[in-house]
């Protein structure tokens, strides 16, 4: 009986979390915040002394805004939109893992050709997460446009 209760509790919690979404009206604010954070990060490239703490904060903020955009509801959020979003998350996960595995090898190969040491190239968590989130949003928009 207790095991059944635990299973039910787990199922309900997972169902609850998997349905988590942000309101549609916030999406445009997240897009604006993402643009500002991206411009901020690009702006840092032109400053001679690049403050590491600011770069770190902007990167975290950028990832947060991307996640918020991908979790924001559409104007009409129906079952087809949900299914397209799931497809986009699925594709982003596959592409993200593939990118995380292949990119360091490609970088090392190119580095080897130009005389750099092997194993010098790796990916940061930011690169992989940024890639996955951008791919998710892009695929979702493409799937939505072609539905």
């Amino acid at each position: 009986m207790k095991i059944k209760n635990i299973e039910n509790c787990e199922r309900q919690k997972l169902e609850h979390w998997s349905r988590f979404q942000l309101p549609h009206h916030l999406k445009k604010w997240f897009i604006a915040a993402f643009t500002l954070a991206l411009l901020g990060l690009l702006g840092l490239k032109f400053i001679e002394i690049e403050p590491e703490w600011l770069k770190f904060i902007l990167r975290q903020f950028l990832l947060f805004t991307l996640l918020a955009i991908s979790l924001s509801k559409e104007a009409v959020e129906d079952e087809m939109i949900s299914s397209l979003r799931i497809k986009a998350f699925y594709l982003a996960f596959i592409f993200g893992v593939f990118y995380g595995m292949v990119q360091p090898i490609a970088n090392s190969a190119v580095g080897f050709l130009i005389g750099a040491k092997l194993g010098q190239y790796s990916l940061s968590y930011f690169q992989v997460l940024f890639f996955m989130l951008v791919i998710q949003i892009a695929f979702f928009e493409v799937l939505k446009r072609n539905r």
Binding site: V76, D78, E79, M80, I81, S83, R147
Partner: protein
């Protein structure tokens, strides 16, 4: 899966937009269902059944590929 939603809609003289509003989805979803690009859930199929006043089997048919 093939369907005759377009025909059923025409019988009731409903536009895609009107049907979409009645069952709480977007017009694009109705368009995708009619074009067989999307297979709706049982809940949505039953909502359509209520609107068309017909059993689901009458307007959704399995094909050999299914």
């Amino acid at each position: 899966m093939k369907n005759s939603i377009k025909v059923e809609r025409a019988i009731l003289n409903l536009t895609q937009e009107q049907l979409a509003k009645k069952i709480g989805v977007s017009r694009q979803t109705i368009n995708s269902i009619e074009a067989n690009r999307y297979v709706p859930s049982t809940v949505l199929a039953l909502k359509m059944s209520e609107i068309f006043n017909k059993p689901v089997n009458d307007f959704f048919k399995l094909t050999e590929e299914d």
